[in-house]
């Protein structure tokens, strides 16, 4: 077990280093980092100082080490738009994004689980077909368009929910649905197919012979086992949600990391963009790592194949 955890930790660490390297190389390849890291009105003196700090006269791998050691100390540059460290800015905005992504995930699961289970139990029936159609449609709509349509219907026409902003539960509903609509399809499919497998297993048949009620069988015994594959991919979906928050936060003016980074792109506030992307990657890798580790606890068979 400990070797498994250690291996996964190393693996995760490696991915984070690799992601930072990727971002570093892209920024160095495509532009002058000094011009990007300093505000346009920077003086000659500031430029020289920045060149010295970044060590631009040194070999590229040394430059990366300087970048990485700064990053490890939490120094991802100063946002010149907000005049505070980029990392502090992002950490300030993180809770809002986590709240939104969790709500989105909660929405998608609360649709996908009943739909997937019922589709499996009543395979081939109308509910199975409805599930398939809904899932297909969800996967074909960009989440920003779902957001716009939700605003159109529930805010503009019906006036039930606020179109943008944050601060209350009512503000959370529309962005969460917009964010959560896309993964419903895949999650439903996963729940349905693993439920079909489990429902066909001997212990469910045994339970049926012993006279257990069908709803107890389905929800207590079958679903618990069928949920394992869903849990393993939740991390992936959570990470995908973090990617999706960029657009959804912009539409709903949600004060999270995504909107901050997108606004930074337009303000050419490069330190914030770079930090935001690095930050997203670290969160992504960490979430996946936690999921993998929890999977190892839930299902010991997973520990073997690392």
């Amino acid at each position: 077990m400990w070797t498994y955890i250690l291996k996964r930790l190393l693996h995760g660490l490696f991915s984070i280093i690799g992601a930072s390297l990727l971002i570093f190389v892209i920024t160095r390849l495509t532009g002058d980092p000094v011009a990007m890291l300093l505000p346009p009105e920077a003086t000659e003196e500031m430029v020289r100082q920045m060149r010295a700090t970044l060590g631009l006269d040194r070999p590229i791998w040394e430059q990366y080490l300087i970048f990485a050691s700064h990053a490890l100390q939490g120094d991802l540059g100063m946002s010149y738009r907000w005049e505070m460290p980029a990392l502090t800015l992002l950490l300030d905005r993180l809770p809002a994004t986590i709240q939104l992504a969790s709500a989105g995930l909660l929405f998608s699961i609360s649709v996908a689980v009943p739909l997937g289970v019922l589709s499996a139990v009543y395979r081939g029936s109308w509910i199975d077909r409805v599930g398939k159609t809904l899932a297909m449609a969800g996967q074909a709509m960009p989440n920003f368009w779902v957001g716009l349509i939700l605003i159109l219907v529930f805010s503009v026409s019906l006036g039930w929910l606020p179109a943008y902003g944050s601060g209350s539960f009512r503000h959370l509903i529309l962005p969460a649905i917009a964010l959560g609509s896309y993964p419903v399809a895949a999650q439903t499919r996963i729940v349905r197919s693993s439920m079909l497998d489990v429902l066909d297993s001997d212990y469910i048949k045994m339970g049926r012979i012993l006279g257990a009620s069908e709803s107890v069988l389905v929800w207590k015994y079958a679903f618990r086992n069928a949920a394992v594959p869903l849990i393993t991919v939740l991390g992936v979906y959570f990470a995908a949600m973090l990617g999706g928050t960029f657009v959804v936060e912009v539409i709903f003016a949600w004060p999270g990391v995504g909107r901050t980074v997108v606004e930074a792109v337009f303000a050419r506030d490069f330190p914030v963009v770079q930090a935001g992307v690095l930050f997203t990657s670290v969160v992504f890798v960490t979430v996946n790592l936690l999921v993998d580790l929890s999977y190892g606890v839930i299902d010991p068979r997973a520990r073997v194949n690392v």
Binding site: G18, I26, A140, L152, F246
Partner: protein, 294 residues
Amino acid sequence: MSSVETATISAPRARLNLSAIMRLPFIPIFILSVLVICAIFGNQLAPHNPTALNLGMALKPPGWVEGGSWAYPLGTDNLGRDILSRIIAGARISVIVAIYAIIVSGGIGAIFGMMAGYFGRTVDTVIMRIVDIQMSVPALALALVLATLLRPSLSTVLIVIAITYWSWYARIVRAEVISLKQRDYVALARIAGVSTPVIFIRHLLPNIMNTLLVLATLQVGQVIIFEASLSFLGLGIQNPDVSWGLMLADARSYITVAWWAITMPGIAIMLTCLAANLFGDWMRDTFDPKRRQL
């Protein structure tokens, strides 16, 4: 040589008899054909110039709504541009992005996947680690970095697609090649002194072609949505070029007065993705039944 080749295991082929034709997904094929026709002949088909401003005609509702005119069947946007003509014109970008993604991401992914699966050991480890790294940076985040550094344009979108979408192909092709490698005909070809590039092209590629085609079709919807998202954020296609995502961005400020400007381009995206996904599902079921789970 030929005896080696006849041993190639091929997936069950769809025979072109009547029952196979009846099972073709007609509606998706129809939608995709319309899309491609619009992409090629858009200029001739569009009833109006998609980029011509006509402020006197601004924000006209669709033809069937009161106050609308059938000269502009789907209405006009805030600058009086005909929405139907713009949707037709926008098909071109979607088709370019889709074809590009299939060729470039599919190509890179297939090459790296085959190399990882075939050579194993260090090559495999290195390539799969690169895949891991690539997958730990969300595509949209990467696009944001590039958009800050370069001027946002179609080429930024295409660069990000090239960097991002190959890894999915690579992972699946690798798994496929690992099992193909065990087959006798590959081992025999190697013993017979067939060079590695020839083994790749003549013995591995034909066997992963079905998988590649299925993956490519299933990915079309994703890249079209990706392009639309970037253009919507203002980080992709720029005016006066026409893209569905950009149309939605333009219409966003008029959401309270012009529901059609928000609805129509989105329906175009949805129908296209739905058709591509359904077609992909059909391809998978027909050519690659192993992958029902995908």
